[in-house]
Symmetry: C2
Subunit: 329 residues, 2 copies
């Protein structure tokens, strides 16, 4: 009986990196992930391949050491910013992993692709990743379609910063006596940030303004059951999220598409999810809203396992999902 | 016959400072303004009184020299940020102007107050100052009422950055295939900023993001006559502007209030001003929309003249309009 073979999955994001090991045939994790709280640096050449390798190689050694296995036969790296900042990774990682680990199959994916693979697996549909921002990625398994993800000033409609910003605007409308104001949200604004007059001075000097705005989204959700203005904000957010899912989802072709929502926005609970279910069934009637099956690390592991068995069903794309055979020097 | 007496007006803003001289009785300018393109510095102690005086004293000497007059008998300084950053000016300017010029009457006003005085004079109503941002100031001549002016993330609803941001969002909706998109605005976005995919990289690293957003507002106005999405954005802006004017305007009391719009947003022309006239007459029926009679420097001169003749009709307010008798050492 041959030794079991393993694949490595990597989920690199703004708050750190997670590394997982799965069976090469099953794609099922065989041990708990190695977690680094040191986000991979981004420099003038994009995501820093050297900094990623410094973390990846020891993590791979630890994971395979735990299960007494050999080097992984395939690797999938999912990283935030891969589409626009992945040039260095695409240039250096194939050779480096072949040299260090003998890896011959490598997939470099943007985090939205690993989120998709984790949430829905190799099936047609759309995944909406919603935290501070909001982006949807869809596929008919022939090409990828992206919608929104333009950031807090240009879009990310219905995401955490969008909801929090709308809630703060409604609070300040109440403060000024303008229509559309919510005294309940004004009370929450003052409880969280202090007197309304001081809020601009707290917010605008910050470099993490979208996160500050998004921090108010749970207050909007908490007010929604008793406050029609807050409830209206979440209903409009749900309308935007469904619009974005619709734009990314493959058009009706007689088969059922799946739509999943992933990310921290789920924590807002029923005040958002109730309207969202209604909007998705109204706007995207050919799709079914399903819970995400797994997270982006699970998605990276499933892509790596599909690479190992030559069964990858997702479309190759220079920016979204780049597959390379690796050759050692 | 006594010699003619003069008053000095100062309009200090983000792009520089203007100094004017008027007859103390009439408040009418007697010579053209002295213009400095060096904005008064703001430091840890707020607006830098020393830096203002360095410019004010030579300007006052030049202006009075031109007309062969003595030192001004009253001064009004209108400055952006006076309400929140005027501590140093309020502490130092009365004594400094008494010592240097023998000035005994001084008013320190926020730029919204001088804009009000210039636009409407000492009458009840509201003035909406709309450029990149948007703020309304109103008075019944007993107290000031402020509305909006919360900046591009919290409000400034209907202002230049608001309109430009909404136009860019509509353009990107068209790019993604989301509802509410405008192909005409997408065409303008690409003509101005290049490919849509590059816009986040152009916008987010800038420190003058509101100005970048506002730079797209004229494109929205240019598209509005032929594009229903752009037209809808301007109609919604007009609705917001009228709401803000209503919140600042004194409530109906049987007399007619005046509402004026000032600032660069006027340049958008009929696509905005048509809907705005309709919204003001619908939402603020007790007010009449009038053109601004004069600019903030004219307002500062009229306040200084009213100080000189002891006829100031505007309400004194520690932050908005602070009047002090000046005593020399």
């Amino acid at each position: 009986m041959p030794l079991e073979q393993y694949v490595l999955g990597v989920d690199s994001g703004g708050s750190g990196v997670r590394f997982g090991l799965a069976g090469a045939t099953s794609g099922t994790p065989v041990t708990s992930p190695v977690v680094s709280t040191s986000p991979v640096r981004t420099g003038p050449g994009g995501i820093d391949a050297g900094h990623l390798l410094e973390q990846l190689l020891p993590a791979a050694a630890e994971l395979t050491g735990r299960v007494g296995g050999g080097a992984p036969v395939a690797v999938c790296v999912g990283a935030a910013g891969m589409a626009t900042l992945g040039v260095g990774l695409r240039a250096r990682l194939p050779r480096a992993l072949a040299d260090a680990l003998g890896v011959r199959r490598l997939a470099l994916a943007t985090d939205a692709v690993t989120a998709y693979a984790g949430a829905l697996g190799p099936r047609a549909g759309a995944v909406v990743a919603a935290g501070t921002g909001l982006i949807a990625l869809g596929t008919d398994l022939r090409a990828w379609r992206r919608a929104d993800g333009w950031g807090h000033l240009l879009g990310d409609c219905g995401g955490g910063a969008w909801i929090g910003r709308a809630g703060l605007e409604a609070a300040l409308r109440a403060h000024d006596g303008r229509p559309g104001g919510s005294p309940a949200l004004l009370e929450r604004l003052e409880a969280v940030f202090g007197p309304a007059a001081g809020l601009p001075g707290l917010l605008y000097p910050r470099s993490d303004r979208p996160a500050v705005l998004a921090s108010f989204a749970p207050e909007v959700a908490a007010c929604a059951p008793a406050d029609p203005v807050a409830d209206g904000i979440l209903r409009e957010a749900a309308r935007h999220i469904a619009q974005t899912a619709l734009a990314a989802c493959p058009p009706p072709d007689g088969t059922e598409a799946l739509v999943a929502l992933t990310g921290g926005l789920l924590k807002l609970g029923e005040p958002l999810l109730g309207p969202l279910r209604a909007e998705v069934s109204r706007q995207v009637p050919h799709a079914r809203l399903v819970p995400a099956a797994g997270d982006p690390l699970a998605g990276a592991l499933s892509i790596a396992a599909a690479l190992a068995s030559d069964t990858l069903a997702f479309p190759d794309d220079a920016h979204m999902l780049h597959v390379s055979g690796c050759q050692a020097r």
